[in-house]
């Protein structure tokens, strides 16, 4: 039996017991008959299916753009979905107007998705500048315009709305007044519907569903998912003794936004933009990224370098810990039992400097050919006390290269030692050839990415290190 859920679609509340779990996209299009949300790929890569999801995060309503093709319907309990129809209920909005005036809609198939993505940026409070606007649409593809007109549309919006009210309620009033949101819709957004929280016996743990629904676009009747964000504290990042505890439902988005994380690992937020896209980051959990056991998962690589450990819980509530480094058995296989799940991720609360590198065909929203992170813990004098080097895309599982990292320990590494570390790293991997790159390319990338880390961490070595 699926759970009975209560949610709001635009301005209407729905209580439903879905026949089977499915991407919200299907329910929106086929059951609610709202056809403005398009299916372009059904794998999170095009943004044509974009909707705005309102949910309580730590007790406050938070609205963000997500791809509805990777969003589970039964995950909507207590949530609010806004589709293009909800935004357009009072006619053309300033976002739409900007698209019209700049000719940013040609065949139009992508347009609702872009409008939704940019409207979400307004609801989130911006800032509305070039960087944030482009980031807001980094999950939207348009094959017609070449993005010139779309950028001009965003420029118009940036000019028209240089600043948005900080406070959520004031901002909603402002957005309604400016016509960015229909008043009737904005009025509903202050609170979210009361979830039903029906307890049913579930068959599968899911985080954001961003991977699951891509692999299972048409899930079996038997699937009854348990979404980790239902658990108390699952969305929190908290400090316990000398460890940061990251709940199982913490998303990439929340991880990079966390003040705790940013303070502990200075500069880590710069890497966010190279991982997935805004709508995917808004949903994808760190736990899901690990549980996939993909050899190329970006968050896993970061967490490996940070020395993460997993707290694994079984069905009876008892838990054990497992170091992330030992968590991967073989390709896409994690060392946990089927009735176990990741309850939290722990990382040592020690300040480290971290460098993350990823090479992919497209710089944004692409899966890496090779990714890597190097985290170093330094003494005041620059001595390296601890170094962890993680590499993905070069073996069936993500790797920690201890020998190579060991070359960097001790006094501030010289170019010679760095080059040795790079050589060792390269020698330690034996990647395969696939659609994202040949084996020998990957090997050469490993060497070069170690150098890239070193240049970021010790810029004074750049001249000596460049090939």
């Amino acid at each position: 039996m699926q759970r009975t859920i209560r949610f709001r679609l635009n301005t209407e509340e729905h209580t439903i017991t879905p026949e089977r779990e499915q991407p919200a996209l299907d329910w929106i299009r086929n059951t609610a008959q709202l056809k403005g949300t398009k299916e372009g790929c059904r794998e999170g890569d095009c943004g044509a299916c974009m909707v705005i999801l309102g949910e309580n995060i730590e007790g406050k309503p938070v609205y963000r753009a997500v791809t509805s093709c990777t969003l589970g319907l039964s995950d909507l309990d207590g949530k609010h979905i806004i589709t293009i129809e909800g935004i357009a209920a009072a006619g053309i909005t300033p976002v739409m107007q900007a698209f019209l005036e700049t000719g940013a809609s040609q065949c139009g198939f992508c347009s609702p998705g872009f409008v939704v993505a940019l409207t979400a940026l307004f609801i989130e409070g911006g800032p509305i500048d070039y960087h944030h606007a482009i980031t807001a649409i980094d999950g939207n593809l348009c094959r017609c315009t070449g993005y010139g007109s779309i950028r001009r549309a965003t420029a118009k919006l940036i000019e028209a709305f240089p600043e948005l009210p900080k406070d959520f309620a004031t901002r909603l009033a402002f957005l309604a007044e400016k016509g960015i949101l229909p008043q009737a819709l904005a009025d509903t957004m202050h609170t979210l519907p009361e979830p039903i929280r029906e307890i049913v016996s579930t068959t599968k743990t899911l985080g954001g569903g961003t991977d699951f629904f891509v692999q299972n676009p048409d899930p079996d009747q038997e699937l009854i998912p348990h979404y980790t964000d239902l658990e108390p504290h699952a969305q929190q990042i908290r400090l316990e003794d000398d460890r940061l505890i990251i709940g199982s439902a913490v998303t990439m988005r929340d991880f990079f936004a966390s003040e705790r994380i940013r303070t502990m690992y200075p500069g880590i937020e710069q890497y966010e933009q190279y991982i997935a896209s805004t709508p995917i980051r808004n949903r994808a959990t760190l736990a899901g990224n690990i549980a996939n056991a993909s050899p190329i998962a970006d968050m896993t690589i970061l967490l490996l370098a940070l020395g993460a450990e997993l707290i694994i819980k079984n069905a009876h509530g008892s838990s054990r810990s497992l170091s992330l480094q030992n968590a991967f058995i073989s390709y896409k296989k994690l060392a946990i039992e089927s009735e176990e799940r990741i309850d939290a991720i722990m990382i040592p609360a020690t300040t480290v400097r971290i460098s993350f590198e990823k090479v992919s065909k497209r710089e944004h929203l692409d899966i890496a050919t090779v990714n890597s992170a190097l985290a170093v813990e330094e003494a005041r004098d620059g001595t390296i006390k601890q170094a962890r080097l993680a590499i993905g895309g070069v073996a069936p599982i993500p790797l920690i290269l201890e020998e190579a990292a060991a070359m960097l320990l001790g006094s501030r590494p010289t170019a010679e030692r760095i080059l040795q570390a790079a050589e060792r790293a390269q020698a330690a991997v034996s990647p395969i050839t696939d659609v994202r790159g040949t084996s020998e390319y990957r090997k050469r990338l490993v060497y070069r990415l170690v150098l890239a880390h070193a240049i970021r961490l010790w810029p004074e070595r750049e001249e000596e290190l460049l090939p």
Binding site: G36, T37, K38, E39, G40, C41, E43, D45, C46, I84, E85, A88, G91, I92, M96, F99, L100, E101, T102, G103, S105, Q106, C107, G108, F109, S111, P112, V115, I134, D138, N140, L141, R143, C144, T145, G146, Y147, G148, S149, I150, R151, V214, D218, K361, R362, E363, H364, T369, V435, G437, T438, Y441, R444, L445, R448, L449, A452, E462, E463, L466
Partner: protein
């Protein structure tokens, strides 16, 4: 209104694409069963388990085709449904119908393909050629005497050039809905660039006369050539389903099936020989193009001549010999894609020029400038260039980018930076407009003026985001002197305008807009004649303007209002029993071509332009970014400048994607590896450089309203991106081996930096010149 009102429903999300149309409760959903490998035979299908999934499940195979099981328009080599053998991965073996899409998918997984025998698959064009597997005969175009000229050249360079295929990634995938009619025929809503072609194919498949088949195309969520010939199968399958089951059938491909089963841009492998004198004048050029045509003929015979027509790019070359060979492989049938073989031709000549510039130690841009075509030059296929705008656009583009300063600043940057290197390159274009198949340069229009004065226009043009509806609206409104809001362009239907040609070859507006204008003029003529009689004047003293009937010169009341509006005159004319409808026909004039001699005037005119692109390479990682693109484009008198600038930027983006980012990957046994949007990447908002576009607006007397066609030519600008990255790589590794193997992926860039480029792409042979490297 100062923007495209056609887009209003798009941004509101109310536009209805195929998958958005209301569905009848009896409708069946169709999904195709695709062949799993590139080449094989099988004895049949075991479907009992699939049929057991749900009572609504039906499975159709080749045996269910009542007419001729054939899609091919040139040759019978493309069955709609395979029959015990397949020739590429993604060929349709069966059609599964069920009450819902998910039931149909579930049933599909239960079908067993029996006794599969794998056969060897050919994936490489040259290998197919070596095995004698070619389609039709090679085509050769030539002028002068290359053999003699090459012996006279100071420098001769030979090289090899590869260019990869390209997936269309129209955001709306292929689809159609078929409705059985009580006449025994079929009505279809099809996502096609060519409703008449679909009509013809469906009639053949069902064994019915064409008038029993009606096709409507509402609009497409992108097409780019991918829904020309390649839309036929999906419409025909839906039609077959409706014909057999007597229920409406919808077939809307999911992305994976679409990428797997539909044709894409042809990969090419080519050899060139270019000969120059030491001052950089190109004397001779030879090229052999091995086109990877895929498993069936499709549009390849129309595409190969366009490659040959554009083999000399925008350059004047007195001695030319170019050969195009269609090689049959076991890949998906390659097909039309914006540029239609042109880009593959351009990339080869530009590669040759780049190699020549390096050999001669010349600035490639100067070498290009030096060899441009001029007015009254004759192309290698014998067409006189009437008003060549190559030099004007190239010079202006160099000015706009401040070329010499740009070069100097790049050199300075490169001398100061070790890790990051910049590069720049420019490409001129000269692109012929008209269908290369002469017969296709025709179109019709049907215009109705309703008696309230509102106007309806039907043509053969299909709206797919290129704005043809907007342009036809503006042209018709201009002709009637009424506001554009009074004109509506109808969906494209085979019952309103018949025997139409695909909306393709950039000719949508040229042909259909011209036909619409002729039809509108006819009605206007009748209205003015009627009004003149009523006002006791002559019709040349009257005209419509801003929806009013006004006096014009030579009338002495010129400028004065007659007191009547357009609507008044229409109403009165209607009451006086005047015909307010007109059909018109347009055939592009003055085209001729002798196929035997490969000589003539195949194009109405050429479009010129130039793009300069800059890139920055991270030489440590082999990755790159594009910084700026300057484009000067010969648009003539634009009918809708906002639409045309969108076409320029959009085409450039696709060209840049093809040149650098988009990598179609096949396994050695012919399976498509890049079959999702997570493995096949197209440009995103971050990827595109800043684009500075300027228009050359000299009028063009050879197209409607002095305009020029826009769709395809700017695609070629993207090729500049390849050479900009190559230029930056060369700055990092000046002794590296130049290579011409598009797309320029980061992997290839790193191979160059690591000196791993295999066989040198260019072999230089010098005649009378000293090697001074």
């Amino acid at each position: 209104m100062n923007y495209n009102t056609d887009s209003i429903p798009h941004v509101l999300g109310t536009t209805l694409y195929i998958d958005d149309l209301p569905e009848a409760s009896t409708l069946l959903h169709a999904v195709p069963l695709l062949s799993p490998t590139a080449h094989g035979t099988y004895s049949g299908l075991e479907v009992s388990e699939a049929l057991a999934v749900h009572p609504s499940v039906r499975i159709l195979t080749a045996r269910d085709v009542p007419g001729k099981n054939e899609l091919g328009m040139v040759m019978d080599d493309e069955p709609l449904l395979a029959d015990r053998k397949w020739h590429y991965q993604g060929e349709v073996l069966a059609l599964v119908l069920a009450a819902t899409k998910s039931l149909a998918r579930k049933a599909l997984t239960k079908i067993a393909i029996l006794n599969i025998t794998e056969l060897p698959a050919i994936t490489d064009a040259r290998e197919a050629y070596a095995q004698g597997k070619i389609i039709l005969k090679p085509r050769v175009q030539q002028c002068g005497d290359t053999e003699q000229a090459l012996t006279d050249c100071d420098i001769v360079i030979r090289g090899r050039v590869e260019s990869g295929g390209q997936e269309h990634v129209y955001l709306e995938t292929q689809g159609a809905i078929a409705f059985p009619e009580d006449t025994g025929g079929i009505r279809l809503i099809a996502g096609t660039q060519s409703p008449s072609l679909v009509q013809q194919v469906v009639a053949r498949i069902l064994g019915l006369p064409m008038h029993k088949i009606e096709i409507e195309t509402r609009r497409l969520g992108g097409a780019f050539g991918g829904k020309e010939e390649q839309a036929n199968a999906w419409a025909a399958l839906a039609a077959l389903g409706a014909y057999v089951t007597k229920r409406p059938v919808k077939l809307y491909l999911n992305r994976r099936d679409d990428m797997q089963a539909t044709g894409k841009r042809h990969p090419y492998s080519s050899d060139f020989t270019i000969g120059l004198s030491k001052d950089g004048t190109i004397r001779a050029f030879e090229a052999v193009f091995y086109q990877n045509s895929g498993a069936s003929t499709d549009l390849s015979p129309a595409i190969i001549p366009r490659t040959l027509f554009h083999a000399c790019g925008a350059y004047r070359i007195p001695n030319v010999k170019v050969t195009g060979i269609m090689c049959r492989t076991n890949l998906v049938p390659f097909t039309a894609f914006r540029g239609f073989g042109g880009p593959q031709g351009f990339f080869v000549i530009e590669s040759a020029i780049e190699a020549a510039a390096h050999a001669l130690h010349m600035d490639p841009m100067e070498l290009r400038l030096k060899n441009l075509v001029h007015t009254n030059d004759r192309t290698h296929y014998g067409m006189r260039l009437e008003d060549a705008r190559a030099e004007a656009t190239v010079k202006r583009c160099m000015e706009l980018a401040d070329w010499h300063k740009l070069r100097a600043s790049i050199d300075e940057f490169n001398s100061k930076n070790h890790r990051y290197k910049k590069g720049a390159a420019g490409i001129p274009i000269c692109f012929g407009i008209s269908f290369t198949k002469l017969m296709m340069n025709q179109g019709g229009a049907l215009v109705h003026v309703y008696h309230d004065g509102s106007v309806s226009v039907s043509t053969g043009a299909v709206e797919m985001g290129q704005g043809v509806n907007r342009k036809i609206t503006l042209l018709t409104a201009r002709c009637f002197g009424i506001p554009e809001t009074r004109v509506k362009v109808e969906t494209t239907r085979t019952t309103t305008v018949a025997n139409t040609q695909p909306t393709a070859a950039s000719t949508g507006t040229d042909i259909n807009g011209a036909a619409a204008c002729i039809a509108a003029e006819q009605i206007k003529e009748r209205l003015l004649l009627f009004a003149a009689e009523m006002l006791h004047t002559i019709k040349t003293e009257l005209d419509f303007s801003n929806g009013r009937l006004v006096y014009v010169k030579p009338s002495d009341k010129a400028g004065q209002d007659t007191g009547y509006s357009f609507d008044d005159i229409v109403k009165k004319a209607y009451e006086s029993r005047i015909d307010l409808s007109a059909h018109a026909f347009y055939a592009t004039p003055d085209l001729f071509y002798n196929m035997e001699k490969e000589h003539g005037k195949p194009f109405a005119y050429h479009v010129y332009g130039c793009a300069i692109v800059t890139a920055t390479v991270d030489t440590l990682k082999g990755t790159y970014r594009f910084d700026t693109a300057w484009i000067v484009h010969d648009l003539a008198n634009s009918i809708a400048p906002d639409i045309d600038s969108g076409q320029i930027e959009g085409a450039f983006a696709q060209g840049l994607g093809w040149s650098t980012l988009e990598e179609l990957c096949f396994s050695s046994d012919g399976r498509l590896l890049s079959n999702t949007l997570s493995t096949y990447k197209v440009p995103d908002a971050h990827f595109m450089p800043e684009m500075i576009v300027e228009i050359l607006d000299t009028p063009n007397p050879h197209a409607v309203a002095n305009s020029k066609a826009i769709g395809e030519p700017p695609f070629m600008y993207g090729i500049a991106g390849y050479f900009a990255v190559l230029d930056a790589l060369h700055a990092a590794n000046p002794t590296g081996t130049l290579f011409f193997d598009l797309p320029m992926t980061p992997e290839k860039a790193l191979r160059y930096l690591d000196n791993l480029v295999e066989s040198p792409a260019t072999l230089k042979t010098h005649n009378n010149i000293e090697e001074n490297q």
